[in-house]
Amino acid sequence: MAYWTLLKKELWSIFVSPVAYAVLTACAFSISAIFVYCFSAINQQNVTSISVLQATATLPTFWILVMFQVPVMTMRTFAEEFKMGTMEMLLTAPIREWEVVLAKYTASLIFYTLAWVPLAVNVFYLHVLTNPPVPFYVWPATLTFLAIFLFGMFFVSVGIFTSVITRNQIVSAILAFVFIFVYFCIGLLSYLNLDPWKIAVFGFSFTLDVREIASYMSALEHLTTFARGIFDTRPVVLYVSGTMLMLFLTQRALLARRLQS
């Protein structure tokens, strides 16, 4: 299947470039710094209510890292092919648009996942190197990584979409950053004390609970819930369907760009 050939080539083009290693190093350094900072803060203040991993995941710096990391990883995918003109060569081979979209998406998701390996290594070392060992809770830790993967899955698909609608990598990165930033900020509305809005349209009246919607969409809340060891299927449905929507839009946009070229 052309998908595997394309995926292999996408992974190759990511990892043949020194940029990938610079990004991975920067991510490893930042996430480890955040982890160590949380560990020493918890240690000094003798906090027992949350784990280091939980503290790491709720720190604003952690979210700033996510907001920068994803656009940098996805900005090249389509924008570069359009700029170099290789898209014409690619799409005159007997392959389908969705195979290209899926291959580029999977490669970026693998790149994203790799960037989080240092966090797992940190958790592991904290458990191994301390005496007496810091307790390690498998289920909450697994769920934390699952949450990071889930919203990453969605954000990467957003990044892929912003890359297909522009020819310029920087514009693509900025658009993806803005989207993720706005999405994150919507989630923050759940912490405000907003009254439900009563809306009446053409005789129909309903209440719009902004707080509830914001809390349903809040990536921060999803991560904290999962980090506490509570598995909730709603975020899974949200992110999987969000990803599918973005990939569908990407495929349509790719088709539209080809038809307009």
Binding site: A2, M84, G85, M89, A93, P94, L259
Partner: protein, 309 residues
């Protein structure tokens, strides 16, 4: 092999090509000629399945380029005008990637890669990074890519654009060689190439077909492009009056120069040979003759005449 019916393409209101109708039969080498912006690349992009037509129907090997695009793409080798490449890939890596993409069975990939590398003279460059190659060499890589899956039809958009004269000659030999197995549609600016290679030429201008014929017929159509050139020692007036009287001669021009010699141009209808009659007249008049040549218009002249305003 290619059947194009009333093909039109508009870009946001501007009609790039309108009502093109032509066909290319199996085994032909057809040249698509036209000034820049005439719609050659657009036509080729539609044939390759990359762009959909606004109107009209194109079938390649019996498959519709819009509804059966995948089948069409399996059967064509397309080389775009601006050979875009992945600059970080090595020649070998690129060819393997393209071979896999074009679904060549894995056991045959090695053999196909060797074959196209030999055809396109890339043997000693297989480990070179594409970005470091010259434009002409990159084009050879693109041609190798177009050939790798043994397509029935080759669509080559200005294949010799970045070549030096030696490479052009090599490319001409290569295209001749390829024509035994492939049907070829190519566009180029080098008209001497077309004259030597193509069995048929389609000249398009401003999105319309001006003429489609063999290169020989096209050159014959050029006004004043076919004449007999003579150098005769005689008086200008006598020459004109006697030669114009010769059967089937349409017009005579004479330019006198040194020592009583005249350069004469004798025009006749296309396809008519007046050499014998002219020679007999000269003998009868006992004029001295030191040159008699048939001058034919080049395809370049035909092209300019057909495409100028």
């Amino acid at each position: 092999m290619i059947d194009v019916q009333n093909l039109s393409k508009s870009y946001s209101g501007h009609r790039a090509i309108q009502n093109l109708t032509f066909e290319v039969r199996k085994g032909e080498i057809v040249g698509l000629l036209g000034p820049n912006g005439a719609g050659k690349s657009t036509t080729m992009r539609i044939l390759s399945g990359y762009l959909p037509p606004t109107d009209g129907k194109v079938t390649i090997a019996g498959f519709d380029v819009v509804t059966e695009s995948l089948e069409v793409r399996k059967r064509i080798g397309y080389m775009p005008e601006k050979v875009p490449m992945y600059p970080d890939m090595r020649v070998n890596e690129f060819l393997r990637f393209r071979a896999e993409l074009k679904k060549i069975p894995s056991r045959r990939i090695r053999a196909r890669m060797d074959a196209v590398k030999q055809l396109c003279q890339l043997g000693d460059l297989e480990r070179t990074i594409i970005g470091t190659l010259s434009k002409g060499t990159q084009q050879r890589v693109a041609l190798a890519d177009a050939l790798i899956h043994e397509p029935e039809l080759l669509i080559l958009d200005e294949p010799t654009a970045g070549f030096d004269p030696t490479q052009i000659r090599a490319a001409r030999e290569l295209v001749k060689e390829l024509s035994s197995h492939h049907t070829i549609l190519l566009s180029t600016h080098i008209l001497s190439e077309v004259e030597m290679l193509c069995t048929r030429v389609i000249i398009i201008n401003r999105g319309r077909i001006e003429k489609a014929d063999t290169p020989q017929n096209l050159t014959r159509m050029v006004r004043g492009g076919h004449y007999l050139k003579l150098e005769v020692k005689a008086a200008k007036e006598a020459l004109i009056s006697k030669l114009e009287a010769v059967k089937e001669v349409e017009d005579v021009e004479a330019i006198p120069h040194e020592e009583g010699w005249c350069t004469v141009r004798v025009y006749s209808a296309p396809g008519v040979d007046v050499r014998d009659n002219i020679f007999q007249t000269i003998l009868k008049e006992q004029w001295q003759l030191r040159e008699m040549t048939t001058v034919r218009a080049t395809l370049e002249e035909a092209f300019v005449e057909l495409t100028q305003d």
